[in-house]
């Protein structure tokens, strides 16, 4: 089986969760005997063609002049489509097109009709969810494109049951057209020797407790809620320090917030950091907090669980499915700084609770979020789609 993966980000170009997702998925699919061709945007220093452990990665020129972000995304996808055409003719055909989100889905729709092959779409997120509703024409436009994409897809994959429900409702899609397949985590990546204090001292002093936040700094990720929980922790005598990893439009606002609260030295904004440092940082953190307002999946919670750090998450979307309250972590209501402070305090004060949570969370990672299993489920979707496709008259002639 030859599968084309369309994605606007692929390592080393990393914007959000799609890049590692497609990278891990492609690698595992390849190991199961699937021929995988990834078509993705170019990146300074990355080769136009690369063979990464058997996965073929083709990069195209993503530059295109435009009057807006939307205009660029659409023009970029035209280039993606042309590159994919060339890849397909060199490979002598294909079986399944797999597109990730609307930022590669439009090219997917075009290729579906040009080659008359089935299109599978993973909806990692939705504009409606990201913005908590639709408030302007740009958002409405993206929403329409997502709806068009879901309509054109043979089957839709979402990363959680929550998203299955959300996509079904948001775009009027039948629930049995959507498969919920979780994201995966490679737990062995977090087991490596490193200099514990060497890393820890870079981010906090010895007596401080590290509260780790990892994510794009946008409103939906709720870093502001966590910062509002900080004074409560300090008042209760917990020497907490927030280490916030990531970038985004909300970063400046959050920095300003910490400054106004006279807590600048208690919130460390690291910006983007490299993978090795990030994994070590997970290992030295005392607790990880993900106070999202909207979360389709929440891979960061899974990473924390793999790194054996206790997690506190808000009860939203995919996070609520990954973290079982009192079992594999603690859940708090959405948008509630006091509840977060209380949960973090409980974990930091109660060693038994912490050990129990960490152990069960790690076991759950190995049991439910193993890439082997996820690739197997994804292959199941491809096979189902191909079976259905072979029984309909819509075929290249």
């Amino acid at each position: 089986m030859l599968v084309l993966q369309l994605t606007w980000e692929f390592p080393p170009r990393i914007i959000g969760g799609i890049a590692p997702h497609v990278s891990d998925l492609s690698r595992t699919l390849k190991n199961k005997g699937t021929e995988v061709h990834v078509v993705t945007c170019n990146f300074p220093g990355a080769d136009e063609y690369e063979n990464i452990g058997g996965v073929n990665v083709h990069r195209f020129d993503a530059y295109a002049a435009s009057d807006s972000f939307l205009g660029w995304v659409l023009r970029m996808q035209k280039n993606m489509e042309i590159k994919a055409s060339d890849v397909i003719s060199n490979a002598g055909g294909l079986d399944v097109i797999h597109a990730h989100d609307w930022v590669s889905g439009v090219a997917g729709i075009a290729l579906k009709h040009l080659y008359r092959k089935p299109l599978v779409v993973t909806m990692h997120s939705t504009e409606y969810g990201r913005r908590n509703g639709l408030h302007n024409d740009l958002q409405r436009s993206i929403h329409e494109i997502e709806g068009w994409l879901c309509h054109e897809a043979w089957r839709i994959i979402t990363c959680s049951n929550y998203m299955q429900d959300h996509v079904s409702w948001c775009f009027h899609q039948p629930e049995d057209k959507i498969d919920a397949i979780p994201n995966g985590v490679n737990a062995s990546k977090w087991q490596f020797p490193f200099d514990y204090w060497g890393v820890r001292n870079r981010f906090a002093s010895e007596n401080e407790k590290i509260v780790l936040f990892v994510g794009r700094m946008v409103l939906e990720k709720g870093l502001d809620i966590l910062i509002n929980a900080l004074p409560i922790l300090l008042r209760h005598g917990i020497p907490a320090k927030i280490v916030a990893v990531g970038e985004g439009p909300e970063r400046e606002k959050c920095q300003r917030m910490a400054w106004d609260m006279r807590l600048s030295e208690k919130v460390y904004f690291t910006g983007y950091i490299d993978d090795d440092t990030l994994r070590a940082l997970y290992r030295v953190a005392d607790v990880a907090a993900f106070p999202s307002r909207f979360e389709p999946f929440g891979i960061v919670a899974l990473e924390a669980m793999a790194a054996k750090v206790p997690v506190v998450v808000s009860h939203v979307g995919g996070l609520a499915e990954i973290v079982d309250h009192e079992e594999t972590g603690l859940q708090v209501p959405r948008d509630d700084p006091e509840a977060i402070a209380t949960a973090i305090e409980r974990i930091l004060r109660d060693e038994d609770l912490k050990n129990r949570i960490v152990k069960k969370a790690y076991e759950k990672c190995l049991r439910n979020y193993d890439w082997e299993r996820i690739a197997e489920q994804t292959l199941g979707v491809y096979n189902k789609v191909l079976r259905e496709w072979s029984s309909v008259p819509w075929k290249p002639t």
Binding site: A64, A65, S66, D67, S68, L70, G71, L74, R75, K78, E81, I82, S85, D86, V106, I109, A110, H113, L114, Y115, R116, N136, D137, L138, R140, S141, E144, I145, W148, P396, T397
Partner: protein, 207 residues
């Protein structure tokens, strides 16, 4: 297969009438013509006295600031779908599309995809240029449109200009290297259609 953004009854400018006359006269001379047009108000198929007209509506209705660029790019994908269906239909009845004749930058995104997928010769008529329409303003939309025009000229096997002046302008904007493949075919002349057909034949031969 003719690609156009306007076909009667839709009229944005004079291209609608130009393409209408072209398609009718080609039919009269025994050629087969499939016209693919963007039309939000009248989508569907129509056989207009032998000219097969396929009109497609934009699948995405809302565009921020009414952007012409994003609206063209989403409608183009719908047009590719229709064009692919036509290509596959022809194959099924054991005939084939011989070439694509695209009009203006608006149809260039669709045309280049069809060219790459089905290896069809692409001929492009440029009726006007963004450089003229926007009086050399370098707004972001204009720059994007100029890039699309340039890609169109670059990817085409033949470019048609309606006047000698237009040919000079195309070469001035997009490079002298396109001189040999750019043909002047004035629609006002009596031998308009034979000239067009001879450009078509050269295009098919060169592909």
């Amino acid at each position: 297969m003719i690609l156009t953004w306007e076909y009667p009854p839709k009229r944005l400018g004079s291209i609608s009438d130009h393409v209408y006359a072209l398609s009718r006269k080609l039919i009269e001379r025994g050629h087969e013509v499939e016209v693919l047009a963007e039309d939000d108000l009248k989508p569907g198929f129509e056989d207009m006295d032998g000219v097969k007209v396929h009109r497609v509506a934009n699948p995405v209705k809302t565009h921020p600031m009414g952007s012409i660029l994003t609206s063209v790019l989403t409608a183009s994908v719908r047009m590719e779908q229709e064009a692919s269906d036509i290509v596959y239909y022809y194959r099924q009845i054991e005939k084939k599309i011989d070439l694509i004749h695209a009009h203006e930058w608006l149809t260039v995104p669709t045309a280049i995809s069809l060219k790459h997928t089905f290896s069809l010769p692409l001929i492009l008529t440029l009726h006007s240029l963004e450089g003229h329409r926007c009086h050399n303003a370098f707004g972001p939309t204009s720059i994007a449109i100029k890039e699309i025009e340039e890609t169109g000229v670059h990817e085409s096997v033949r470019v048609i200009a309606n006047t000698k002046w237009m040919k000079d302008e195309i070469l001035r904007y997009y490079g002298k290297e396109h001189k040999r493949k750019t043909n002047v075919v004035p629609p006002t002349r009596k031998d308009w259609i034979p000239k067009i057909v001879s450009v078509y034949e050269k295009g098919i031969g060169a592909n």
